[in-house]
């Protein structure tokens, strides 16, 4: 049962992401991304990490993507316009993609051997996770929150109307 569910969710997740890359309609892109996030939440649930599963769905599918879709529907883009193409962007994106893949492999290299099973109590219970966040990972946690606040303040300043001179 667990295997069946895993492969179902994995196929849905990968399929949605592939569909998102190939679709030209912005609204469908966003909806497929939501589907991928939801399937990812299901996979976290299968790995006996219900807290992360639910938070993944609340934050990504329930909040961030709603705002994306909100904006896409408000500005009502026409369908099927190919993105602007310039020669050098193709080469640059290939180089960047290569660097990203190398970086991901380097980052994840150590954890491939450790994939024995679900994370256990530390991941499963919100209490243990919270304790970990506020003791061992306190500095990364605080730095991330400062980054997010800085981004928020920046966005507000950018859209704020200039006062009449």
């Amino acid at each position: 049962m667990a295997h069946f569910l895993f492969f179902l969710l994995a196929i849905v997740c990968v399929g949605a992401v592939v569909g998102m890359i190939f679709s030209r309609n912005q609204a469908y892109n966003a909806l497929l991304l939501v589907l991928a996030f939801a399937a990812l939440g299901g996979i976290f649930g299968l790995l006996s990490a219900p807290f992360i599963a639910v938070v993944q769905i609340i934050i990504y599918a329930g909040a961030i993507m709603v705002l994306f879709i909100f904006v896409i529907m408000m500005i009502n883009l026409r369908e099927g316009i190919p993105p602007e193409k310039k020669k050098w962007t193709i080469y640059l994106s290939a180089v960047l993609a290569f660097i990203l893949i190398v970086e991901l492999i380097l980052a994840a290299r150590g954890s491939f051997q450790a994939l024995t099973g679900p994370g256990g109590e530390e991941i499963a219970s919100p209490k243990a996770l919270g304790k970990l966040l506020f003791t061992e990972y306190l500095y990364p946690f605080e730095i991330t929150s400062i980054l997010i606040i800085a981004a928020l303040v920046g966005a507000i300043i950018l859209v704020k109307k200039k006062e009449e001179e």
Partner: protein
């Protein structure tokens, strides 16, 4: 085999309970209560063999009528998403009933069965997650109809739901701090204790401010008057303008189910869930001394009845509010959400923290 059958039976019973209650709340209670408020008689003609029963058969007549109406999809709509939207909004509300504890445990033979379908350790967040996904039904219905009024309704709906979701979540943080758990079943268990030896330790007594914020935010989540800007019920210009037949009926049912789910949440979080004051597993322990012992099956029945009674009360209460108040204007709605409810819920969190650390 039996390990598979028990969850199945639980799911079916929970869904039947939810749908029947929804049918009655959204149809019979709504029509009769509004009729009494308007000094009318209300729906009383549906009968079986001449038996009218103060209109109690009316919900079934309405449901049958709705099922056999023509299902019309406008030619200019985005067909697939237009059909998908009502099912999405129905599904994400219906699935939350899985997390609600109807009672404690019952013992059949040597087997102990929880009166709750899903008892993971983050049931409260599960309910919030599913309610936040319900927004997609509203947005997609508005957008896929390809009609400007629908789109505007959908956008109003999305803005309202996102705004009030913040207050909805924050109002519960104080509660989570007091009963340190995200698990609905253990929150209910903690509410069985006593405060100063005689007041039941219910959320309403410990978190009055949290309850007020939760009440307003939850009412906004149900998208009904006074917060009915997404659907504009009196003008019928909203996100489901282009729907008819059973698909429209699904939106209608979703509205009714939201009332029921919000009532179960208020009951579970702030009014002790299935707890009866001073009733413990072996009987009543009165605060003025004296005990009254009961058999365990009577205790379970009393608890389930108490849960149902509280839920009925809040359903009635929400219908009463809906027929009493006029609609908010859009800027008033946003002011209430962002400038009043969110600061109040933050005050509540800080206050709870200070009192707990004393």
């Amino acid at each position: 085999m039996i390990e598979f059958l028990i969850p199945l039976i639980k799911v079916i019973l929970a869904l039947v309970w939810l749908l029947l209650l929804t049918l009655y709340v959204a149809d019979w209670v709504e029509r009769k209560e509004s009729a009494i408020i308007h000094d009318r008689i209300g729906a009383n003609r549906a009968s079986i063999f001449g038996l009218r029963m103060i209109g109690l058969f009316q919900p079934f007549a309405d449901a049958i009528k709705m099922i056999f109406k023509e299902d019309f999809t406008p030619s200019f709509s985005r067909k697939f998403l237009h059909s998908l939207a009502p099912f999405l909004s129905f599904f994400f509300v219906a699935v939350t009933i899985a997390a609600i504890p109807f009672g404690d445990t019952i013992r059949i033979g040597s087997r102990i069965i929880k009166l709750q379908v899903l008892d993971i350790n983050v049931t409260l967040l599960f309910v919030l997650a599913m309610m936040s996904l319900g927004i997609y039904g509203v947005i997609l219905a508005g957008w896929a109809s390809n009609n400007r009024f629908s789109l505007l309704g959908g956008i109003r709906g999305a803005a309202q739901l996102i705004s009030y979701e913040v207050a909805f979540g924050l109002s519960l943080v104080g509660l989570i701090m007091i009963y340190p758990s995200l698990k609905l079943s253990s929150i209910v268990h903690s509410q069985g204790e006593l405060l100063f030896g005689f007041i039941p330790k219910w959320g309403i007594f410990l978190q009055p401010l949290g309850f007020i914020v939760f009440l307003f935010a939850a009412l906004a989540e149900t998208k009904r008057v006074p917060f009915d800007l997404p659907e504009g019920e009196s003008e019928i210009i909203g996100f489901y303008t282009e729907y008819s037949g059973l698909k429209w009926g699904l939106f209608m049912m979703t509205d009714g189910m939201e009332i029921v789910i919000v009532s179960t949440l208020m009951t579970t979080l702030f009014f002790g869930g299935w707890q009866v004051p001073w009733l413990q597993a072996d009987g009543f322990h009165w605060p003025w001394g004296g005990e009254w012992f009961l058999a365990s099956w009577i205790v379970v029945i009393l608890q389930v009845l108490a849960f149902n009674l509280k839920v009925f009360f809040f359903c009635w209460f929400q219908v009463l509010l809906r027929w009493t108040y006029p609609r908010f204007r859009y800027d008033q709605l946003m002011d209430l959400g962002w400038k009043l409810l969110i600061p109040l819920s933050l005050v509540n969190i800080v206050g709870t923290g200070i009192i707990m650390s004393l």
